[in-house]
Symmetry: C2
Subunit: 298 residues, 2 copies
DNA sequence: CGGTATGCATAAGGACAATTTATCCATATG
DNA sequence: CATATGGATAAATTGTCCTTATGCATACCG
């Protein structure tokens, strides 16, 4: 289909030499030696079967054949150069993040603004899908996923262990005179009592999980929603403190007990190992790791 | 000056792969293996920092970045291909011959027509200059020169030894009752008696060259001119028979004596060794050598 | 009018990119 | 479910491309 093409490296060298009218200057521009330019021109001339330059003393000039060839070649390389540059910067300009809903709404949404402030030229696109993204098949730069961090071929950075502890509104806590013992929790409405986190936490707290039995099921399925219900005073929710840092700070939620449990899972930043040095990848990595480092210091 | 360019080989492979939507097909077109295509695409993706293809089952499709890049790249390569093809055929289409005047007018002019019949697409341009052409500095494909055939770096083919013998019009010969002895020549006007060829020929013929002394000098300097004068019956000319084959054949000139002398010089076809396989070079070489082979058989 | 500097050509050698071979893997297809 | 198709990958090989070192011709300068 495509016409027979000349040796491309030689063509590139020819283009520069034609533009400069000098092998030495072309070599400078291309960052190679004059000998290499001379060699490549000869390669091209051998291939086309006719000289492209006349070797005049202290300068070279294009032959007729060279004159016919040069303008089109220059134009073609300008085209390639422009397309390459724009694709390259365009590619830098869009960051596609695949993330689980929970992390997006509980953590990212409130903070992504500061990343965008720091990188005004970089548009961020979210793709919140529950499936684990396949980087080979979907146009996604990086992902934030829950899991155990064992994904071969992918670079992973631990962001956040999914620790959890009961949380509720201060008003609801006051309604029963405050919470002294873990069992006090069972005197209040429990948001999503079927969540295994409740069983685990109560067990680790030394309380019986029996009290959960027979409760109304109100499976909400997302910390954001459950947290909202808790803030509204509708009950006690089992939440990850890191996701509700601001609510805890301003008193919309309180964490009555110190005990933090973990199911061993965590949120990870992941991306294809091979792309670790792409500017937008490393920009986002630096930012998010710094965010977590800062919150860990508090 | 020129914008930073992508790796060109990889770009070429990308272009084919984008056009086919398949690495395997691209490999076929380019005459390489699928593995090589896969490798080159990866090189390009590493360089640009973002994937160019999505690897879907049994086919690959362009990512956004790939879609942005592909059309311009295809266009650029089409440009290069077209320019290359036309320069290549254009270069084939013009044959520049540097030749000495004598050979051009006495031999080539009458026969070049048959070469052009055989190669209708090939335009022939003559450059008749007395200097020996410098192939590096002038746009000349091949040359026909007199000399001893010792030109380093150039391919040479012996065309014709410069043999010579007296020739005259039959009418002039009849005017003195025919020529029996070489000395009979001296009873007729001699065209260019200063030419050393006369001295050499008369000497080798066993005649004294004394008879040349004191003759009117009519230096004409070119066999074509001297031959014309001889045909017109103005005198006896010392000519190269090979240059006057048709005149001898149709009786406009006669060669009264068998004796052929030679000064050791000859006409040679010469061209840069490196270009021996260029189509137009070998076409002309075949033709001219065949012409001489044919005339030698007669 | 010679000496020097500039620019290109060439040969030999080496570095590294490109390619092939040989598998492997996933998935569409029959 | 077996097979075929299409791509990825690792290791080894090949070959291009480039550099170093040098030579040569010519323009420029004192």
């Amino acid at each position: 289909m495509a016409a027979q093409l000349p040796p491309l490296q030689a063509t590139r060298v020819f283009e520069a030499a034609a533009r400069h009218g000098s092998f030495t200057k072309a070599a400078e521009e291309l960052g190679m030696t004059q000998a290499a330019v001379s060699y490549q021109i000869k390669v091209l001339e051998d291939r086309i079967g006719t000289p492209l330059f006349l070797r005049r003393p202290r300068q070279v000039t294009l032959t007729e054949a060279g004159q016919r060839l040069a303008p089109a070649i220059t134009e073609a390389f300008e085209l390639i150069g422009a397309a390459w540059a724009s694709a390259r910067s365009g590619a830098q300009g869009m960051l596609s993040i695949s993330t689980v809903q929970t992390f997006a709404s509980n953590w990212l949404a409130q903070r992504i603004g500061s990343f965008q402030m720091a990188h005004p030229g970089l548009a961020v696109r979210f793709d919140t899908s529950p499936r684990f993204v396949d980087f080979a098949r979907e146009e996604v730069d990086l992902a934030i996923r829950a899991g155990n961090g064992d994904w071969p071929g992918l670079a992973t950075h631990l962001l956040l262990r999914t620790e959890f502890t009961p949380m509720l509104s201060p008003k609801l806590a006051a309604s029963i005179g405050g919470l002294k013992e873990p069992t006090d929790l069972l005197r209040l409405p429990i948001i999503d009592p079927d969540d295994p986190w409740w069983t685990q936490w109560l067990t680790e707290a030394g309380a019986s999980a029996e009290g959960l039995k027979g409760r109304v099921r109100s499976r909400m399925g997302s910390q954001a929603v459950e947290g909202g219900a808790a803030i509204a005073g509708q009950g006690v929710a089992m939440l990850t403190p890191a996701f509700f840092a601001s609510e805890l700070a301003d008193g919309r939620l309180v964490q009555p007990f110190e005990l933090l449990c973990s199911d061993g899972h965590a949120y990870w930043l992941v991306y294809p190992e091979a792309r670790r040095n792409a500017p937008k990848i490393s920009a986002f990595r630096s930012w998010i790791l710094a965010e977590f480092a800062a919150s860990a210091e508090e």
